[in-house]
Every structure is written in C-alpha cells, then in structure tokens.
C-alpha cells in the first residue's frame, strides 16, 4: 500500500508568528490520517442508494442537504440532493466496502482521501480570519459546530467544517493546499498564530 505524504511538508519548517502586542491568538495546523469517500446516485436511484448505504454502514443518512451526522469517528455529510461525503479516521477505510455494495447502475463511490488536504484553524479569532476570504455567514447562529459548506476561497473550491465553537477545518484540493496555507497564515498574521503539527504525524 502506498504511503500518503503531506503536500504541506515543505512549509513545516516555517515558524509561528507573533501578532499585534506580541501575542499568538490562533493555532493552525494540518490533520492527517483521515479518509474521505464520496457516494453519489443518479436522481432515479437516489432512494435505492440511500437504502444500500444505510444497510452497509448501519446508520441513518442525514436527511437534508447541509446536514452532517457524527457516528462514532465517522462523519456523514449530505453534500447534495443525491450526494454524500463520508469522513472516517485511520484504518476505517470504507471505500472498498461501499464500492462492492453500490452497483454502477445505482451510483458511484469515489475515494477522495488522496485529493484533499485538511488545514485547521483554532482560536477565538478564527472566524474573523476566515471571513476575509469566505463569503458565507460563519456566525455561530447560522454556522454552528458540525456545520459544513461547500464553498470557495478566492475562487478555489473548499469544504469548510466547523468542528467546535472556535475550530474550523478546511478541506482543500491537494493542488491548492500550499496556496491555501499561505493565504491562511497571511490572513492570521494580525492575530498571531502558533503552528501545531501534532495532528499531522
């Protein structure tokens, strides 16, 4: 099996930066050791696919687009009318099991783990930093914990997931990960940040 490498390896030597007043109000890092599978159906086979995925995973899928359901270490996100993104951790890679359960005529199961990089930012000012580039409302009333959105950051497609009141995860295309990292660390400069690689071992 091929070993996954981080496209952010070359920025790991960068140091943390002080913000105004010499403070470091944010933490920024990369999360690794996760898996992402996209499951999509044709409009005519959506119900059949949902039943199949429910039976394969033993859970109910989120009912509305934009809803996410955490089941153990798995996170199930309904990203479209007939499309789901399923995040898992570590060796819990469900792509092969779903591919054998979902017939091609019913829909598609696509492993996307290799194509995305997860960059996270944590701190009381993380929302203000992200609001410099994202055009969606990140207020906790409109975008609370476990909310997610497929959106754009300076014309770059990203998925943003709020994993806690102060922490956001950006799932960005691997080819845009370094650019997104540079944008995020630039935007965070006024607040100061501590780089945290503990989740990227």
């Amino acid at each position: 099996m091929l070993e996954r490498s981080s496209v952010l390896a070359r920025v790991r030597s960068e140091g943390s930066r002080d913000g105004t007043g010499g403070l470091r109000r944010l933490r920024i890092g990369e999360t690794r050791d996760w898996n992402l599978v996209q499951v999509a159906a044709f409009s005519a086979t959506a119900a059949e696919l949902e039943d199949t995925v429910c039976a394969a995973l033993g859970v109910e899928l989120p009912a509305r687009v934009g809803d996410a359901a955490a089941v153990g270490t798995r996170l199930l996100c309904r990203t479209g009318a007939e499309q789901f993104w399923i995040f898992t951790r570590g060796s819990d890679d469900i792509a092969a099991a779903l591919q054998s359960a979902v017939a091609p005529a019913m829909g598609s199961v696509t492993a996307l783990s290799h194509s995305r990089t997860c960059i996270w930012i944590d701190g009381a000012h993380s929302r203000e930093v992200l609001a410099r580039g994202l055009s969606i409302d990140l207020d906790s009333d409109a975008f609370g914990p476990h909310s997610f959105a497929l959106t754009g950051l300076h014309h770059t497609p990203v998925m943003i997931l709020r994993s806690s009141a102060t922490r956001f995860e950006l799932y960005v295309l691997r080819t845009f990960a370094v650019w997104t990292w540079e944008w995020l660390t630039d935007a965070a400069l006024p607040y100061g940040y501590e780089l945290d690689w503990t989740e990227s071992a």
Partner: protein, 105 residues
C-alpha cells in the same frame, strides 16, 4: 452585490457560480444539418434589458446547474430552480460552456 439562492445550498455570493448562457435558446439537434440554425445558436445573442432566463452552475458548491430569472437592469433575481426541474419548460436542457471547469467534486 449579486447573490443567488441555490435550491440545494441556500443563498450564496455569485462568485461561487459560473454563468452558463441563455436558457431560452434551444440547441439544434446533434444531427441537424441546418447551418443557419447552428450559426444562430452559437453566435447570435439577445442583449436583454429586463428579466432574462439564464443558466448558472453552482461551481464551488453543489455543482448543480440552475435556471435563474434575473433582471439584467437591476440584478434582482426573480426565481432560481434546478435546471433538471426546468426540463419541459421553456428552458433548454443543454447548458453552455463551463461544464468541465474544476469544482468541489
């Protein structure tokens, strides 16, 4: 600022969308030999002032094609529906350029 209400994702900034052409035009059949019909479809466009029916794709979101009725003079959006829901109405089922651009899938 122009904002569009995606039936799937909700109201988003227009920068998440990609304009896909006039939704009132109907593409000639693939095997059509009428060159004037193809010429008119490819090269001739109305410059509508007022409510215009047009394709947009939510490129940075759900990637669905939409049919949007937008007032070109005021940018007021009158309606937004999924293009597949508009099949059978006056909208064509064949959006224009842009389908191959990189998005969120």
């Amino acid at each position: 600022m122009l904002r569009l209400s995606c039936p799937i994702c909700g109201t988003r900034d227009y920068t998440e969308f990609h304009y896909g052409g006039d939704a009132r035009k109907r593409r000639p059949e693939h095997a059509a030999a009428d060159l004037k019909a193809w010429h008119d479809y490819v090269f001739l466009f109305d410059n509508v002032k007022g409510v215009h029916r047009e394709f947009w794709q939510h490129l940075l979101g759900c990637r669905q094609w939409l049919v949007v009725e937008r007032d070109t003079a005021s940018n007021v959006v009158v309606s937004t529906v999924l293009a597949r829901s508009a099949v059978g109405t006056t909208a064509s089922v064949s959006p224009g350029a842009g389908a191959s651009r990189e998005g969120n899938t």
